[in-house]
């Protein structure tokens, strides 16, 4: 079976291996690294991780499905996660979500048909002092307003 995971993945794992007394401890870092490569975690990729670590593929899935950051299905090129926890709601997060749902024509949890945007509600991001906050892929955007959000979206490369 030819490998799906990149050389960079295997190099990164080699670097981390001596840091942990067990190989299973590499599972979360491995899932992060794989998701960096593919944008989500296809089944065959999780199988390859299982083989590399030496655990059953079912164990990989069991762990991956516990954590919300691992995408078990493909997501849009731009993944918006708008925090709607207490501090953000107090500062207008619900209006932001509505604004995006209208703008994209999708509900939270869905992806636009052109696969450009996935919209999600998120739990507290630890940015409550600069609420409302959201993540766009790996980056934080804080002190948001609908206008500011539109600006950010307009500046995204197609």
């Amino acid at each position: 079976m030819s490998k799906l995971l990149s050389q960079q993945f295997y190099d990164e794992m080699k670097k981390l291996e001596p840091r942990y007394p067990t190989k299973v401890a590499l599972l979360l870092p491995a899932l992060h690294e794989a998701q960096k490569q593919f944008g989500w975690l296809p089944g065959e990729v999780m199988d390859e991780i299982g083989t590399y670590i030496g655990i059953h593929p079912a164990q990989v899935r069991e762990v991956a499905s516990f954590y919300t950051m691992y995408n078990l299905k493909p997501v849009g090129k731009y993944h918006l996660k708008i925090c709607t926890n207490v501090a953000c709601c107090l500062r207008g997060a619900e209006e932001l979500v509505e604004h995006c749902e209208k703008k994209f024509g999708v509900k939270c949890g869905e992806t636009t048909t052109d696969k450009r945007f996935t919209l999600m509600e998120e739990e507290c991001l630890g940015a409550c002092g600069t609420a409302p906050a959201m993540m766009l892929n790996d980056d934080y955007h804080e002190n948001l307003t609908a206008a500011k959000l539109d600006q950010i979206l307009a500046s995204l490369p197609s």
Partner: protein, 424 residues
């Protein structure tokens, strides 16, 4: 208040991050040089004297906790930093990690020496990608300059430090769930005992401490435990506190104040500029969303661990959320409860079923389909969760429900009787 020492806040800016700044402006790594020749017991003694109480939520005395680690152990010992910062309302640890990462690193090396650990992990919430990167850069600097790795500063002491990223699960802030997650498992809390100090990470004796707790260690060692203890205005609660203030205040943000030096009223109106839009204050959640709510009449309490416990709430992670009359408390409680229902790991029936049930009931009350008996039902369910679960998430979900329903009963009744939110 201006003469009160601030150890963190003046350095919370981008320029403070590099090692050069840390060495020049923050007495960087001088505490480590002082601590390395000290016997471990002496460091633990200093921590006990400091009255440092863990900043993660439970407020457990740090020196006492470190003292639980067995001197001899067949298995390697570990020091783990809890950088999950997942309690809603909390955002102080993020500032420590992005602005003053070396404080945390130095604190961890000293802590590791005190408990005899040669490996440590910073378990950081997955969303903090940038902070993880910045921490890794600082760790590289520390390795390159002999503050981490083999034979630190020629002392013969070895310590390796690794950043381990979580992946979006609130429960991983609970220390035993965190340890499972570190080991590559689902983040489900473990049955205690054994406590981590006996059998923690990879079954070795382990100390788990919050970021702020560990980052304060260099200052305690440099200035002495007594100095730190005296910073606090109350007995048995030393140091300054980083307070995350959010919600309906004019100036939200991280504040640093001597422990026990202000009341909640002073904090809101004098320190944070008052309620947003000069609206009327409705409620205050004083210690992260798990903390039982306080009404506007209950804010003359001193903002510290013991005083808040006495009024039936808690300081938790020192995350104060301010709610004005502009937001419906029923809706707010529904949102809080949805969070706990979503984050319950599902191991215990009262927590798994109870949280979901409370969420559903609150949903129908908010929607205007609530029944008269729903109020008693909510209180019953909360009672049946409280104290009957494996970890404290159950209590964290029950506390807000009982307190909101009891203290704002009229708002809940108005929704039920009127069939809608009276202010909608």
């Amino acid at each position: 208040m201006s003469e009160s020492p601030q150890m963190f806040k003046p350095h919370f800016h981008e320029e403070a991050r590099p090692l050069a700044y840390y060495l020049a402006k923050m007495n960087g790594y001088t505490a480590l040089k002082k601590a390395l020749p000290m016997p471990p017991e002496a460091i633990i003694e200093e921590m006990k004297k400091s009255n440092m109480r863990g900043r993660g939520g439970a407020g457990f005395p740090t020196g006492v906790k470190w003292g639980f680690i067995p001197k001899q152990s067949a298995k390697p010992k570990y020091l783990v930093c809890n950088a999950d910062e997942s309690e809603p309302g909390t955002f102080k640890d993020r500032d420590i990690m992005r602005y003053t990462p070396h404080l945390l690193i130095e604190g961890m090396v000293i802590g590791a020496h005190a408990i005899g650990a040669h490996a440590g992990y910073i378990y950081i919430r997955g969303e903090y990608t940038r902070e993880a990167k910045l921490l890794n850069q600082a760790i590289e600097e520390a390795y390159a300059n002999g503050y981490l790795g083999k034979n630190i500063q020629g002392s013969g002491f070895d310590f390796d430090l690794t950043v381990h990223r979580g992946a979006g699960a609130y429960i991983c802030g609970e220390e035993t769930a965190l340890l499972n997650s570190l080991e590559g498992k689902r983040g489900e809390p473990r049955v205690k005992p054994p406590f981590p100090a006996q059998s923690g990470a990879f079954a070795g004796p382990t100390i788990v401490n919050n970021v702020e707790t560990l980052a304060a260690v260099p200052m305690i060692i440099n200035n002495g435990g007594e100095w730190f203890a005296k910073l606090g205005k109350l007995e048995k609660s030393g140091g300054t506190r980083l307070i995350s203030v959010s919600g309906h205040v004019k100036n939200p943000g991280v504040y640093e104040l001597p422990a026990g030096s202000v009341t909640i009223r002073e904090l809101i109106y004098n320190v944070c500029g008052g309620v947003f839009g000069d609206k009327k204050l409705k409620a205050v959640i004083p210690g992260g969303s798990s903390a039982p709510v306080l009404t506007a009449d209950e804010i003359d309490v001193i903002y510290d661990i013991e005083p808040l416990m006495k009024v039936g709430s808690m300081m938790g992670s020192a995350a104060l959320m301010v709610v004005s009359e502009d937001y419906c408390v029923v809706k707010l409680l529904k949102r809080i409860t949805k969070f706990y229902a979503h984050e319950s790991c599902g191991q215990c029936t009262p927590c798994r079923e109870g949280c979901k049930w409370m969420e559903d009931i609150l949903h129908r009350i908010e929607d205007g389909h609530g029944r008269e008996q729903d109020i008693t039902l909510l209180l019953d369910i909360a009672d049946n969760i409280n104290g009957k679960t494996l970890c404290a998430l159950g209590d964290a979900a029950a506390g807000p429900v009982s307190s909101f329903v009891k203290k704002f009963r009229a708002d809940f009744e108005a929704h039920i009787r009127g069939g809608k939110c009276p202010n909608a």
